[in-house]
Amino acid sequence: MIEQHGSEREALRTVGAPIRRYGGAARVSGQQDFLADLPFPDAAAVALVTLPVACATVTGIDGKRAMEMPGVIAVVSAADLPQPVPRFGISHQDRPVLADGEVLFHGEPVAAVVAETLDQAEAGAREVEVAFEERPGVYNVDQALATGAPLVRDPSRRPEDDENRDSNVLETALYEWGDTTAAAGEAAVIVENTYTFPMVTHFPIEPGGTVAVPTDAGGLDIYSPVQHPYLLQRTIATVTGLPLSQVRVFAPDPGGGFGGKQTPRLEPLLAFLALQTGRPCRLVLSLEQTFQMMRRAACRVKARTGFADDGALIFHELHCDFLIGAYADVAPRVMTKGSYVGAGPYRIPHARTASRAVMSNTTPSTAFRGFGAPQVAWATESQLDAGARALGLDGLQIRRRNLVNVGEAFFRGPYEATADGHWHEALEKAAELIGWGQPLAPGRGRGIAVAIKPGATSGLSQSLVRFLADGSAIAYAGTSDMGQGARTLWQQILADELGSPLDKIRVVSGDTGVVPFDLQTSASRSTVFMGNAVLEACRDIRKRVLALFAESTGVDEAMLSEAPGVLITPDGELSLLEASRIALGALGGEFVGQGTARMRGRKGHPLGGDAAFYEFNCTAIEVEVDVETGELLLHRHVSVSDVGTELNPIQVTSQDEGASIMGLGHSQMEQLLLDDHGVIRNLGALDYRIPTFKDVPVELITHGIENHDGPGPYGSKGISEGALLCTAGALGSAVSDAIGIPIRDLPLTPERVWTALHPDAADHPGGEEPA
């Protein structure tokens, strides 16, 4: 990592200022070209053929009638692909390009129809005859783990030495220190409860899609608004056998990603369709299709926690079952990483977290803001409150008692992890902002919760910066800007380090053909990783200006030095632009700088490496409960994060507000509901509810704790996920404070709150009644 000094920070002009978002005006005024807006005059349209059930054996696919429909160019099923049907995936190469003899989740395509127009493709898709036999599937944790449960994956497709091959458990993780069993005797109070977290979907406002264009050279150009263009490039190259140099990925800025646009899903299919038909093939997803393509793993956590009289944690035991879906995607990693911090940012002498990634006949779950942490934090934070209630403490007291100090371990053992920030400051600030301890109006309750999430544990970001003859500059940085404002940060760094005006700086991303490699846009890593690469590229330019200036003018290099925006000569400071003109001389030209941020993993580490930083958040909520209806009114919602340095305060606030509101989604209203056939019953915006602006708390207050102690540029840390990590815990705590009854299942819908208040009204809550 690059060393920085306080004096340099003071010299900054734009870093730390609320600079307006790069491309923001175009984004909010409808000018930005999303994938669906890009013109492909010669493109053929693609429609997918799916089944009305989640789990089935496919016995025959007949596309003859469809082929006779007007405009239909091709009907493609697994039989038309290379055999065996190519499969892909990150850790498990288990996902077929098209369903291969069986459908494992509702919406998994069994065939694709390519036609001249979308209407023709859809009409053709309705004519494809699919013979199938529905099989019993597993749609929740209980079903999947039941003795004799139908297996999502046939054991023959799993390694022989896999001890779980005859079950639906795909992977397990175990983190343990101390001796929880022996420690139970020391506890004054033990609380034991089960918590559930629902399946939720990402709901990006731009559903996305893919256009695959065959090139004259026999390669493919793939257009897809993904977070990881380079992963997509590699996946397409692997499944098609093309060299990387023949696969170029264009990733137009996604309209929201939240982790849902990381891994390839339908792009390999589009690649084959383009290669087979020789035509650009275009598929723009509907919102309903995104529901079937991406979701967060549901989770059931059984927790047992012991406390001393004074509230100190004695032991904490967690059994977490993540319901991951039909294919692995990155869900095993979500399970291991989410469980790693599952015990929370606490000082715990004895801890045991045993987790399983459980397959089911549901949409494969994937990365989603928080990456497994919110599911387990819901349980751990609720347990802290349960302990506090039993001991007569409040939520703030018990967290003060147990929260680790900077440098102190919250994860123990040979790969211990310690607090990389002053997390107590965030706790105290949140308590102050919520008015902790002040009298409450009747019907109201207050709750406070904390959580952490590990940032990236390895990474590689490369950047090129061109400093042009007129002082304008271009940064090539592969981070996908999906709304988080990455381009703005690179612009700010260039402006300060090179002295270029903000409006003369361009950022190029989303094109593997011209932009150097970046591993991925995930885990709130980009500020740290790409930020450091861009910073290094700028400093590389300054060194090159200095060297050429010395050569061109004959001034001894030792007499020169550089600083942000300037070259310092014996005759005084020159702006970098002036210095570069003198250095370049009559021939003109430009300077090109290169920067790389590389973090290697650590062998043996359960996560593959230490986290580059931790996102720590404290959320506190004051809620009013309508006891007649169970409706919640959030009067105040406070989110305080440990941010290192706010490179752009308005963007930090936007991220924290966005994450807070998104956290209220899974805490209050979001859940995917399935019928007995595994079909999503609330497929679409009508009955899958996300918060609107009318659902935002009356007061939403966010705050960043700045100690300039992060590994990113100018002491920054990643910040994009923190504010939703413990939203559920804070809200659950506030609601139970208001009504005197803890609720352990999310979301806290009015109906669920009302049902908790009326335990005698025996009935199934809405959506949970068998169809």
Binding site: T629, N682, L686, E751, W754, T755, D763, H764, G766, E769
Partner: protein, 287 residues
């Protein structure tokens, strides 16, 4: 799909009659365009009646009541001073339909004509004893709105016909009304259930019930009670909700919907009753 923009009511109903089962009327389009996009409606003919010159005016007031035409939007309803004074429950219901953009296009008449049991504005209209006029090539007929609804998405308005006006009689002097709706979130949502209540000067009560049966239902009238008596109020609510047959579905379980119907009925009745005598209130009391 053919788009047709007739200039007269006669042309409109003739066009509808030519393809009675596959034609659809377009006014605001807030339901139809969504349905077409999701293929839950696949009309061969769309008849856009916004250019019809002899259509009933959006809102016309006379001594005996208000007549609404098909192009009256929720936004028009909310803004109209006489509607605000006479029918506060309708204003409250119209103000909860969709979002601002939806309300600026959505037709009041179409909200009932769609026949959804969860329609927001139907319960207050039923409680106000509204009636509709249905026009076809063979002429006009009028029906009470409460008799207009036959089943979910099925009304007296047959294929080939259209509802051309909605008449709401002026409420009796000294009465008032209120609307209550339960949803899963505060922003844009469909009703889990809803109640529109009218309380007369003498205390007689009537309610319209939304999403509490296969159609919008009328409850009451119930004779005046002592509103300060919890016991009498509960008995009145029992009587008002007697026609309700709540079910469990994706939006709510049966027990919760049943319980919410009581809460909403109680709240709507009390609010309507209080409105009758609130001297500071500028709108919502009939005089």
């Amino acid at each position: 799909m053919r788009y047709y923009r007739p200039a007269t009511t006669a042309q409109a109903v003739a066009a509808l009659a030519s393809q009675p089962h596959t034609s659809r009327i377009l006014v605001g389009g807030t339901d139809l365009l969504v349905a077409v996009r999701h293929r839950s409606a696949q009309p061969t003919l769309v008849v856009d009646i916004k250019g019809v010159r002899d259509l009933t005016a959006p809102i016309s007031v006379d001594e005996q009541g208000i007549t609404f035409g098909p192009t009256a939007t929720m936004g028009d309803v909310i803004a109209h001073p006489t509607v605000r004074e006479w029918f506060p429950a309708l204003v409250e219901a119209a103000g909860l339909v969709g979002s601002v953009a939806i309300r600026n296009r959505a037709s009041l008449i179409a909200n009932s004509a769609n026949g959804s049991p969860a329609a927001d504005t139907s319960p207050p209209l039923v409680s106000f004893n509204a009636s509709v006029t249905i026009t076809s090539v063979s002429g006009e007929r009028t029906s009470l709105l409460r008799e207009f609804f036959l089943a979910p998405r099925r009304t007296l308005c047959e294929p080939g016909e259209m509802v051309t006006s909605l008449r709401v009689p002026r409420p009796s002097p000294g009465s008032s009304s209120a609307f209550e709706r339960m949803t899963r979130r505060r922003g844009v949502d469909l009703a889990t259930c809803s109640v529109g209540a009218v309380v007369d000067a003498d205390g007689a009560m009537t309610v319209g019930l939304g999403a509490l049966g296969p159609t919008t239902l009328l409850g009451g009238p119930v004779a005046p009670i002592d509103l300060t008596s919890q016991e009498q109020l509960e008995r009145a609510v029992d009587a008002l909700l007697a026609p309700a047959t709540p079910i469990g579905d994706i939006r709510a379980g049966k027990a919760y919907r049943t319980a919410m119907a009581r809460v909403l009925a109680r709240r709507a009745v009390l609010r309507a009753a209080a409105r009758r005598t609130d001297p500071d209130r500028l709108t919502g009391r009939s005089s």
